[in-house]
Amino acid sequence: MQRSWRRRFHLPAVIGTIPMILVAVGVFVIGIGFSVLWSFTSSKLFPTYDFVGLAQYRRLWADSRWLVSVNNIWFFGLMSISCNMVFGYLLAVFMDQRIRQEDLFRSIFLYPFAMSLIVTGLVWQWVLDPNLGLQAAMRNLGWSSFSFAPLVDANTAIYALVVAGIWQGSGVTMAILLAGLRGVDEEIWKAARVDGIPTWRTHLSIVAPMMKGAFATAFVLQCVGVVRVYDLVIAMTGGGPGIATSMPAVYVIQLITVRQNVGQGMAAATMMLLPVLVVLAFSGLVLWRRNRRQEARV
């Protein structure tokens, strides 16, 4: 017991990380604590301590704007993560063919990830703007009936966001999955060929399952990207047209700054925290079980 405690906590390391620990505890834990606390109050422009129970949550879930935001984040998240995984894997397989100029391609695919989402959003906004981008260019070339303006249509604006998200994120997924792919022993491929297993089947049944770790890493990064989508929405649509592309983070900021309703905004923020907590608890459980299994084997 004594030994395992010392193995886990090195005194110099603990001292070195104290500032980080203080910041983390101060900003995150205390900040989150107050958010949750205020979500049970009737705070308007400024926080108060007039507790109203779950009233803010009832009003939140009755607000169509919030419901649209929740729908949007699920749609955006599922679409962009699944497409990113598929495209990222296909790109990684393409890169793994020992193509020439691999470095050049990798830089091109990774470039979008190096840009902030605001820049990504602005670039895509220009491309999709009817008066500046693709539509204007095609019309200038003589195709006067060409019409392509997804951002101003409430039905298609969310797809434009998804495309921008994929453009931004599939490169880094490719880089992570490529590293995983390179880690698969060449003899596994040979064995599968001798066994007569088609290449696609080898990918699906043998290689992809071996890359669980790489997929998990890519997935976590994608999830972070979904949470960060606030910038992209603000840069590309501002949540519009109307409320068509509103997302929970956009909703929270609007409630606090524009509609001056801190109580309900904090209720929304607390709702955003819930799925994160569920994921954290789940991954913690998985890690704990794996550790226990490893210790049992040693």
Binding site: E187, I188, K190, R193, V194, D195, G196, I197
Partner: protein, 366 residues
């Protein structure tokens, strides 16, 4: 093994393989008889694995043809060649149980379910891996993993087994155990086996014939004893045998009507030596294995001389005694109970019949 009756199983004809500008295999020919166990032996990087991958169809060859069971398979896919292969890293599918590892290829090939079950049961029985069938490879020891890898070749029900250094990742004890098992497996199945290794003990113990390779060329293809006793060149002589053969550099000279090997004051009469062809006087290398030299055992030998012991190396079952012959290092293998001391004067004797003479320039056997 009656080759004429059973015919040729694998025939490699004029095979060349280049990686870009680098030529790895050079117009190589090799015929393996039905049921024969051929070992490809050579230092690492000499092209053994490359040759095996060509036979398996995992590499496209540059020139030549490959026949398996009389059928030209030069451009066939690996699965259609009637081969099974076992790899050094085992190459098991890590996320599948042992049973799935064995059955996956068969299921993809669309074999009937009961046939798959039957083949797995047979392989598991032969290899004694029945209790392991539901385990994942990560829960197996190295030896068990390699057994499963052999099983995966076994269930394919093929004529030819290819092994690429299957025991190199195992520790010494397991290696010798599995070596015996592979030999037993060959006796039981009577399949053709081509086995790649850089370990001469594996080659000597397993092979019906050994092909010693160097630089993409087969130097000698013969039964292990022939290769051991009559190596065709200095490379083969030095590569096989541990401790290694002694080489003494000197000259071949004719005295009267008999030939002798001369180095400084050493003169070895070669009356009992069997020359490969017509010998010529000139620089030559005299080679003799440490176990073919006898220490302090009288003067009944066709050749004997005296020397001082320099170092004694005990090796367990016997001892290696180092001394100098014509100012050149020379070792003698003796059984332990007759071990001499350092600096002791000894006489050594041998029969030149057991020696090998090589051309100093080409290294070829004289």
């Amino acid at each position: 093994m009656d080759m004429a009756q059973n015919g040729t199983s694998v025939s490699i004809q004029d095979l060349s393989l280049n990686f870009g500008a680098v030529s790895v295999l050079k117009t190589l020919n090799l015929d393996v008889a039905q049921g024969e166990f051929v070992v490809l032996l050579g230092p690492s990087g000499c092209g053994k694995s490359t040759l095996l991958n060509c036979v398996a169809g995992l590499l496209d060859i540059s020139e030549g043809r490959i026949f398996i069971k009389g059928k030209n398979v030069t451009w066939e896919e690996p699965k259609d060649r009637g081969i099974g292969m076992v790899f050094q890293s085992y190459a098991l599918y890590p996320q599948m149980t042992v049973e799935k590892n064995l059955s996956f290829g068969l299921r993809v090939a669309g074999l009937p379910r009961d046939e798959i079950v039957k083949r797995i049961a047979r392989a598991a029985e032969i290899l004694q891996i029945e209790p392991l069938l539901q385990r994942k490879p990560s829960a197996l020891s190295g030896g068990q993993r390699q057994r499963v890898a052999i099983g995966r070749a076994l269930v394919r029900d093929v004529d030819v087994f290819l092994f690429d250094e299957p025991l190199s990742n195992l520790d010494a004890k397991l290696r010798s155990e599995l070596r015996v098992e592979i030999k037993l497996l060959h006796r039981k199945l009577q399949n053709t086996m081509i086995y790649v290794t850089h370990d001469q003990i594996e080659a000597m113990t397993l092979a019906d014939r050994i092909a010693v390779m160097k630089g993409g060329v087969i130097q000698q293809l013969d039964a292990p004893q022939t290769i051991y006793n009559r190596p065709v060149n200095r490379f083969v002589a030095g590569f096989l045998g541990s401790p290694a053969m002694n080489f003494v550099e000197g000259r071949l000279e004719k005295h009267g009507d008999g030939w002798s090997f001369v180095a400084e004051d050493l003169k070895i009469p070669l009356g009992t030596y069997q020359f490969d062809g017509q010998p010529e006087a000139g620089p030559a290398v005299f080679g003799i294995r440490p176990e073919h030299v006898s220490l302090n055992s009288g003067t009944g030998w066709p050749f004997s001389t005296s020397a001082n012991v320099e170092v004694v190396e005990p090796m367990g079952s016997d001892t290696l005694v180092w001394l100098k012959l014509a100012q050149q290092k020379f070792s003698v293998r003796v059984t332990s109970e007759r071990t001499p001391q350092n600096d002791e004067a000894v006489t050594l004797g041998f029969d030149p019949m057991r020696a090998s003479l090589f051309d100093a320039e080409t290294g070829g056997r004289i």
